[in-house]
């Protein structure tokens, strides 16, 4: 990499650090406490250190790492503004998630071990998904949580990486029927948990992986048409078979203003918050979006747009797009089908999840209850998102190693 390129990469890290410092200075002015001073010192410093030290130590994708760290820091800033304890918790979750990301990245280098233990791993994924159905806690209509002491864990978030790895392996060996069976089991378990948002994500990722591995457009169209038909037909059955919270969400989507005092309240408040923010927002810490329900998780995007503005919102969506495009690029550069498929699966997870959550916030589609990757409050969500990025980084390491081998084989020596 030439010096000019390195300097421009460093410019991005420096600009982001400046952004984070600016935000924390503002929050410090709002409320001068020891905690806010420590956050001002640790968060920008931690971001700068992780975004410069890690690419030097490991052969990782610097752009992907920098942008993911930036989004995590935005989450810490916004959550700290809502409630300082949320911000501190999120910062701790980020550190734990970052370590998990490094482990996943290193794990890809020893992927042969996964191939040896693939069957126990698959069984473990199914068992983990079955646990909430049997002993789970119901929150907001979905029985998708496990309580472990004072911690709550959402297993379906953790099994995302498992879904990608297992499907990637099966599809690389052309075992399409086995892959369909495994995916169907996962979807059935999510249906039993009444977690339709995550089921939609799983379905989209599995379908995309199968489409890419088979190259069959008719298969893909059949999947899309089948899913649409199931949703349309299923909507009529939802009310009768215990999915009342889902039918309420569809009603809220179809006519939020007529139901703004009931089912449509969250949607209406989200839309009002976005509009009130205008282009530049009302200012960090000076917004008026406190009425949005679940604003720390599902509705964090409208809250951010209310304070930072629509320009910020659009830039945020474009940053997610850059991350998605980068992930697809990693998948395209992979030389082996397994790595290509798992990189694709991870990218689609991030991209589709962003579409689902932001689409729900702006009433493009019904609200589903999934979180905004890297930003929303939630240890499990952040952990799984960072693990997915770790898998992408691992695949990129493999790509770079193989490219270096190609260059050696062509008798080229790097300067």
């Amino acid at each position: 990499m030439d010096n000019k390129h390195k300097r421009s990469n460093h410019s991005l890290v420096a600009t982001i650090t400046l952004f984070i410092v600016s935000c924390f200075v503002l929050l410090l002015l709002k409320e001068l406490t020891l905690q806010s001073v420590m956050m001002l010192a640790l968060v920008p410093g931690g971001f700068y250190f992780l975004s410069t030290f890690i690419p030097q130590k490991f052969s990782v994708d610097g752009l992907l790492l920098t942008l993911v760290n930036f989004l995590c820091c935005i989450g810490i800033i916004v959550l700290y503004r809502m409630n300082p304890q949320y911000g501190v918790n999120q910062a701790i979750n980020f550190l734990a998630g970052f370590l998990a990301m490094i482990l996943c990245m290193l794990g890809i280098r020893y992927i042969e071990a996964f191939k040896l233990f693939r069957i126990p791993f698959t069984m473990a994924c199914i068992a983990v998904m079955l646990a909430p159905v049997l002993i789970g806690k119901e929150i907001h209509g979905a029985k998708a949580w496990l309580t472990l002491g004072r911690f709550s864990v959402q297993p379906s978030e953790l099994v995302k990486v498992g879904l990608v790895l297992v499907n990637g392996y099966l599809l690389s060996k052309r075992k399409l029927l086995v892959s369909i069976t495994f995916s169907a089991i996962m979807l059935l378990l999510l249906l039993l948990q009444k977690d339709m948002g995550t089921a939609l994500l799983y379905y989209a990722v599995a379908l995309m992986m199968m489409y890419v591995s088979t190259g069959s457009l008719s298969f893909f169209l059949a999947g899309v048409v089948g899913a649409t038909g199931t949703v349309v037909v299923g909507y009529q059955l939802l009310k009768r078979i215990g999915f009342a919270h889902l039918s309420r969400r569809v009603t809220a989507w179809l006519s939020p203003w007529h139901t703004y005092q009931d089912e449509g309240y969250q949607t209406v408040q989200s839309l009002l918050a976005i509009v009130n923010g205008g282009l530049f927002g009302l200012g960090l810490g000076a917004g008026n979006a406190s009425n949005i329900p679940v604003r720390e998780a599902d509705s964090i995007f409208p809250f951010m747009v209310n304070e930072f503005g629509m320009i910020f919102g659009v830039c945020l969506i474009l940053i997610y797009t850059v991350i998605f495009v980068r992930g697809i690029g990693i998948a395209l550069r992979a030389r082996q089908k397994f790595f290509s498929l798992i990189a694709l699966g991870c990218s689609v997870f991030i991209g589709f999840q962003v579409f689902v959550i932001i689409g729900g916030n702006i009433n493009l589609i019904p609200i589903t209850g999934v979180t905004l990757p890297f930003i929303s409050y939630g240890g499990t969500s952040l952990l799984s998102s960072l693990c997915i990025v770790g898998v992408l980084q691992g695949v990129e390491w493999v790509n770079r190693t193989q490219m270096a081998l190609d260059a050696r084989m062509a008798y080229c020596r790097e300067d």
Binding site: G283, F308, R335, R413
Partner: protein, 227 residues
């Protein structure tokens, strides 16, 4: 700080944060495009990137570029398309072990005259027989696999297709005309390859960039002039 004063400061800061966000986005997109351009430039001077050699059809002389992993079969999705191969053959480079060959027993494929089993590996010079096809693996120098198939005798092989030096053959020229040459031409071309060890230890990518790519597969004197 009083809420009204804070609100005014926050409203001033919002423009600053919006500008920073736009700059961040612009720098990120620029980084993305620069790395993509660098990758494309690298591929231009490494046209064999991703390939580990070729698979030569001994009947027709046609050669198929060999990726790191793929399928040989008769369907459109196959990486190496051979009509008549009903059950696909999966091959994958396992570093320091060889090219793992996996095939259905119904195909009755053979690697070096042995049926394809659970852990069948092919090496440089190995034969692969499947259906009506008899193919031979030809790997680039530097591919991290064990040396030649130890079952082949040193020097002249039984087929007489080409002579094997002690080392694997040097890198195949980047332009390989597929299907345009007869088997005789191919044999002649292969025979003109000479072992050479007078290449420099390595040369940088800039040197490769300055070379004019040859349109003739065997026409570049530098590649074939081995003493």
């Amino acid at each position: 700080m009083q809420p009204e004063v804070y609100r005014m400061i926050a409203m001033l800061f919002r423009y600053w944060l919006a500008v920073l966000m736009i700059v961040i986005l612009w720098l990120a997109i620029r980084w993305l495009y620069r790395e993509r351009a660098a990758y494309i430039a690298t591929l231009r001077v490494l046209p064999d990137a991703g390939l580990i050699g070729e698979l030569v059809d001994l009947e027709t002389g046609k050669s198929y570029s060999l990726p790191r992993e793929g399928f040989i079969g008769g369907k459109r999705q196959a990486d190496i398309g051979l009509k008549g191969i009903v059950y696909p053959i999966h091959f994958e480079l396992i570093e320091h072990e060889g090219i793992l060959i996996e095939a259905s027993k119904r195909l009755r494929a053979l690697v070096d005259d042995k049926p394809v089993g659970k852990k069948t590996f092919a090496y440089h010079g190995s034969f692969l027989e499947a259906g009506a096809y008899r193919l031979r693996f030809r790997l680039f120098e530097g591919v991290p696999v064990p040396e030649m198939n130890p079952t082949l005798a040193d020097g002249i092989d039984e087929e007489g297709v080409w002579d094997f030096p002690d080392q694997q053959m040097w890198i195949v020229p980047s332009v390989i005309e597929k299907g345009g040459q007869t088997a005789d031409n191919q044999l002649e071309a292969y025979a003109s390859y000479k072992e050479t060890d007078n290449l420099e230890e390595g040369f940088c990518l800039d040197d490769l960039k300055n070379k004019t790519p040859s349109t003739e597969p065997w026409g570049d004197e530098e590649w074939t002039d081995g003493q």
